[in-house]
């Protein structure tokens, strides 16, 4: 049976927030950013510590991190 939801670990760098979340199978990194209320323009997705493109399809047990595109000031 094809799983409809997957359990993954997500981290938002800017908010220093780490949590577990269920995502729909086929969710992309960009889709997850939008689901978490992040603007995809302002973050870079990294999966298991490797930078990935926005269209990366998230897999079960992935550790997804959204790195913040901030100015040094």
């Amino acid at each position: 049976m094809v799983k409809r939801f997957m359990k993954i670990e997500a981290r938002i760098e800017r908010e220093n927030k780490k949590f577990k979340i269920d995502v729909k199978a086929g969710t992309t990194a960009k889709g997850l950013a939008l689901e978490l209320g992040l603007n995809p323009v302002e973050v870079i997705p990294a999966v298991n510590e490797m930078i990935v493109a926005e269209d990366y399809k998230i897999k079960e047990k992935d550790k997804v991190e959204f790195l913040s595109v901030v100015s040094g000031g």
Binding site: E13, N39, P40, V41, E42, I44, A46, M50, I51, V52, A53, E54, D55, Y56, L67, S68, V69, V70, S71, G72, G73
Partner: protein, 298 residues
């Protein structure tokens, strides 16, 4: 979608929807910077370049890329200048990164500390005025002076496409078109004998692309934001631009391209003003007493 040049996993999808793997992204980035330098005649082989280094991702990326070009094309000297404005919990951290980075690259680093240079700091000045305004004026003043002291013929800064689009929009919102005449990839060429021309080799790179480059190259950068930047007008405009970019990809590029089309007209209109010499410190100024001297008297 795999990388357009090979079958490896992509790390970035460009505005034209082309995907790039890690190694092709790095090549794309460096080629684009090189093209900006060549097309806008930002640097030539005889130039002695001073890079304004903050220790953040933009200036560290700039220093790394220019050092690569320096070795590849046998450019003249390359130096780095760091301004320590006296912002506790911020600049002391990035200064450590900058020192380490320059040591690794073998690039001489000159540090100007506001506490020694001006006997004050942004932490002190922010009790009396907007810290971002004071910081901007005193940083530009110190960078120019330090660049001239080391004999630099060009001062390279890490401004990227996001910074430029923000500045254009900020000046438009505030009705300060004369400030926009001072923008562009190269400024200050014929302004004043004591003014070191400024160049922005990352001018056409998105801030996001700079971050990806710095991460892929594993540059020693601490990703922290200036504690004074939070509620700044620039941050507000930046967020607005990011919303627009998300809805209409290519917005920042279009703003900057349209602006470059108008820049010659803006310069013709606003840059006729004679640049004088500040009667107090002898540095270039549009007023009798420069803004830096005025701030330091407050």
């Amino acid at each position: 979608m795999p990388c357009k040049n090979c079958s490896l996993k992509p790390v970035y999808t460009a505005l034209n929807n082309e995907s790039l793997c890690s190694s092709h992204f790095l090549k794309y980035f460096e080629r684009k910077v090189c093209k900006t330098i060549a097309q806008h005649k930002l640097i030539d082989r005889k130039d002695k370049i001073a890079v304004a280094l903050s220790g953040g991702k933009d200036s560290s990326t700039l220093l790394y890329v220019l050092n690569k070009f320096h070795q590849k094309y046998r450019l003249n000297e390359l130096h780095a200048i760091l301004i320590n404005e006296g912002i506790e919990g911020y600049r002391n951290i990035t200064e450590k990164d900058a020192k380490k980075f320059c040591r690794e690259l073998g690039i001489p680093l000159k540090i100007v500390d506001f506490r020694k240079e001006f006997k004050t700091s942004i932490d002190k000045l922010k009790k009396k005025m907007n810290p971002c305004s004071a910081c901007g004026v005193l940083r530009r003043y110190s960078l120019n002076k330090a660049a001239r002291d080391i004999g630099a013929t060009k001062l390279a800064t890490g401004h990227n496409l996001d910074d430029e689009a923000q500045s254009i929009l900020m000046n438009s919102i505030k009705g300060n078109l004369e400030f926009s005449a001072k923008l562009g990839p190269k400024t200050g060429v014929l302004m004043h004998e004591k003014f070191v021309p400024r160049v922005k080799p990352l001018y056409f790179m998105l801030e996001k692309e700079v971050l990806i480059y710095s991460k892929l190259r594993k540059l020693p950068v601490t990703f922290i934001e200036c504690p004074n930047a939070g509620g700044s007008f620039r941050n507000e405009v930046g967020r607005m631009l990011n919303e627009l970019e998300s809805k209409y990809p290519g917005t920042k590029q279009s703003i900057v391209n349209s602006f470059l089309g108008m820049l010659p007209l803006l310069r013709e209109k606003f840059q006729k003003e004679r640049i004088r010499t500040c009667r107090e410190c002898g540095e270039p100024s549009v007023r009798e007493v420069c803004r830096a001297c005025q701030i330091l008297k407050i």
